[in-house]
Symmetry: C2
Subunit: 160 residues, 2 copies
């Protein structure tokens, strides 16, 4: 567990670090981090919180970008399929990846009160099911773990 959303941390550093990592990876992989894509990444990085496509779209609109759904969904597709962001299926929402460049099966801690999302260390989520998959003769390509509960901040509010 490292920069886990719920702990106090230098978030500005956290953002800058992510962006420069992504920029570097894009250069190396000949991917184009266009203005919209970069902006969406920034939006996702702003808080460790899941954001729906339409909320992102609202922010893009304020920024003067076109605001039709495909604009957001395409940028999100780019970010997700290149591992720079993840989709939280439970919330139909997206967050920036906290472990850019590190190969990992993501695992999320999702607060059901504030929708903050922490990404756990790149544990081998896949490995957990490995035996199961072998027995079943099933080839796992991707595995995602989503855990829902209460984050430390919201817990304080409920039971101070």
């Amino acid at each position: 567990m490292d920069s886990l959303a719920f702990k106090k941390h230098n978030h500005k550093h956290c953002i800058e670090n992510s962006i420069s990592k992504v920029e570097l990876m894009c250069e190396n992989a000949r991917l184009i981090l266009t203005p919209v894509r970069k902006r969406v990444l920034e939006i996702l990085l702003k808080e460790h919180q899941a954001l729906g496509a339409y909320k992102i779209l609202d922010i893009l609109r304020e920024d003067g970008f076109s605001s039709q759904p495909p604009i957001a969904y395409r940028a999100l597709d780019f970010l997700v399929s290149n591992g720079f962001a993840h989709k939280i299926e439970r919330l139909n929402a997206f967050i920036a990846c906290s472990h850019v460049g590190e190969k990992h099966s993501p695992a999320f801690l999702i607060c059901r009160m504030c929708e903050a999302v922490g990404e756990a260390l790149p544990i081998t989520t896949k490995g957990i099911l490995n035996e199961t998959a072998l027995t079943a003769d099933f080839v796992i390509e991707e595995a995602v773990l989503e855990a829902e509960g209460i984050c430390p901040n919201c817990k304080e509010v409920v039971t101070p």
Copy 2:
């Protein structure tokens, strides 16, 4: 790993077993397994495959039930919230639970070709994140693992 979807098994037995377990649990818990609810459970049990709410609705319509969305969603809510079915978030679809009555954090093997879904043994998915959660001071209430890949049947088709 037991009655895993992908293995040949006596599916009729599998269905009957699930239904009678659910009936028993409903009696004990004073829950009412109304005709629609039972029918939706049967529909979900028919194959080890995820079904969207609107597909279920189509089947209900053929059966003479009312076919407005809330009919299906309510029955599904009932089944899911009582642990008789699960929602596969990745697919926005539902399957019957393979481990009715056994407390478990579900883990699914989802075939991306045929949408068959196998539910892994009630492993302690939660436990995997336990350490992580403790460190983060996060209280996990529910955890779901969704793994996508290729099931044995579809693998045969691709590489015979």
